[in-house]
């Protein structure tokens, strides 16, 4: 994602549900409002759960992008 600065990223590949989601929750808890954070996951369940959580928590899912070597990077902005 050009032009967007990710302040913190966690590579949660190798960790299964609910690991990657918990990593995102931890990142959002410790971030400042406006920060952009990212979690990389190769777990199938994350594809559904992570966007669902971001929606429920009313943050912004900026992008889901494939990562070299397998997995998806979920990029999220903390809105409040």
């Amino acid at each position: 994602m050009e032009g967007i600065k990710i302040t913190k990223e966690v590579d949660a590949r190798g960790s299964f549900c609910p690991g990657p989601l918990m990593e995102m929750i931890r990142l959002i808890r410790s971030a400042q409002v406006g920060d952009v954070v990212a979690v990389i996951s190769a777990d199938e369940g994350t594809k559904k759960d992570l966007p669902a959580w971001i929606k429920k928590a009313k943050h912004e899912l900026i992008a889901e992008e494939p990562v070299e070597g397998g997995g998806t990077r979920f990029i999220c902005r903390k809105l409040h």
């Binding site: 989601l21 918990m22 929750i25 959002i28 759960d49 959580w53 429920k56 928590a57 409040h80």
Partner: protein, 381 residues
Amino acid sequence: MAKNILILGGGTGGSIVANILARSLSPQEASITVLTASPQHVYQPYQLYIPFGYQDPRKIARSERSLLHRRVSLVVDPVEELDVKNQKVVCRSRKSYPYDYLVIATGSTVDEEQIPGFKEGADHFYTPEAAFVLYEKLQNFNGGTIVVGIGGLPYKCPVAPVEFTFMLEEFLTKRGIRQQSEIIYTFPLNDVFNIKTAADYIKADFDKRNIKTELFFNLAEIHPEKKIAESIEGTELSYDLLVMTPPHKGAPFLRGHEIADADGWVQTDRHSLKVAQLENVWSLGDTTNLPVSKAGSTAHFQAPVIAKQICAAIRQETVDSEKVKYNGHVACFIESGYGKATMLDFDYEHPPQPPPPTEFIHFQKLALNKFYWYLIPKALI
């Protein structure tokens, strides 16, 4: 020269490893020391029964010395520093203890400070003292909203809050105040439990018993004066009684240590249980960062794997890592209330398939509670 084996923590995992080693190795081969924080060994599953008055908090602990083989030395002195490079630990007394082989089994502790308002606003049953306070509150409860939930992942005995919820529903019914009460169960994820098969079973039973759920509820703050629990997702729940599993952490000396993460969960190999790729350090039970339940049964199935590797190392034998490995086995009973229970039995490859609750499984759980002292820490089964 006899090797020096040091076991940190005299709870379920540490006691089993120490007793297996004492029976397997001669005094010429090794000296075995358990270094622990308390002279008492608490049987924590009993804490679930205290809030309902089914168990006396004064009767859930025994002397750790009485549970250990006579060849095991017991030192009560909490560990404050671990130096893996120089193979020694330093305790609160400032005495230091060297080791050739180390087993870390210091368990998990509750950390109420992590959530603002937790101490003043929430009750729980994760220490005997807190469980007794909750007993008094439940005795005086005359109807209203009880919110039960999880205040942070990971926590020990993942099914305990579910068991508590089932038992609470029965308790309120028997006291004749179920109609005037609402039970709301919260969970941090999008389901009622983190294992799908178990979640399906639990959700169906919650629906049958009119137990409401609030999912994706990650506790952020408690406002005791307004009696509101707030999640980071922005949900606010009003309560008359709030029963929340507190956030858990590893022992203080492990938090931020080079072999652990910031919360003190120790980097552990999922099969060999070796720590941070060191050849002479293992960990088990609640201490590890493994994605398996923090449960006594986990420690029980892990202990022999570690003991076998230590014996082989001392005797300079090679171990067949295919045979001597932990496969993720965990077995947990779930009290369902009304004198019945079911069971979760699973490993890394096989998710649990809980059978319908029966009286027989409930009696098995009661029997385990009774015979724990004779069988488990002593490693007789």
